[in-house]
Symmetry: C2
């Protein structure tokens, strides 16, 4: 069952869509206003962690390159959601997958970020797969 939310708090889909729109527009005031003061951001692949709204806004604002982000899919419950995005920078496009949780006020309190990279398929399953 979906937990009943605070009537005044935006749901996770709305918050995630605002988050990516603010990032795309480098609107760091709006971006920061979506975050809990004690937000925790983690990249499990590098085992990096950023703590707190100020550091996390700066982490994004300082991210190098003239990147553009396109939202491919958002799957969301009331207080949790996932985004699948495409990042394009320097002519390359990368996939970003973010898991979000929101606190009771509808502010983002955790972001867990994954960047899956291309790799060569293992041998032995060519009889079942096609390449695209």
């Amino acid at each position: 069952m979906v937990e009943m939310g605070n009537d005044t708090a935006a749901d996770a889909r709305t918050v995630i869509e605002r988050y990516w729109a603010a990032a795309e527009h480098r609107d760091w005031n709006t971006f920061g206003a979506l975050l809990a003061p004690d937000v925790v951001y983690e990249i499990p692949q590098t085992r990096e962690r950023v703590r707190g709204r100020e550091a996390y806004v700066r982490f994004n604002a300082e991210y190098p390159g003239d990147w553009r982000v396109t939202v491919e899919r958002v799957v969301a419950e009331e207080r949790r959601g996932v985004s699948w995005t495409s990042f394009t920078v320097d002519g390359r496009t990368e996939t970003g997958l973010c898991f979000f949780t929101l606190d009771g006020s509808g502010l983002i309190d955790t972001v867990t970020d994954f960047w899956p990279e291309p790799y060569e398929p293992p041998a032995g399953r060519e009889h079942l797969v096609e390449r695209y």
Copy 2:
């Protein structure tokens, strides 16, 4: 707004939980019964695609190694969902992220599978991050 589903169809959370339980138990009859006949499975990182229930069950049943899967998180709407799982095989643990869609009967019709691998963090953000 969440779309109203068919009353007789299981929601995405239930289906995804059954999917992983069946995989963990190598119960390929139950696993196959969760899939639409024309299910399409894709791995964007390798650009591999498997079409159809029979081939996709076989792809999983033939997957090498004595792997175990633990579900870390499921985020789901009525007809779409995402799973974050940990796969352990040969003493190594990998992260799997799957995006699912269900058809109107509650059968899985697409699975998009990502395997993010560890990588070294880029230089220049040490002032904002900690390692864990």
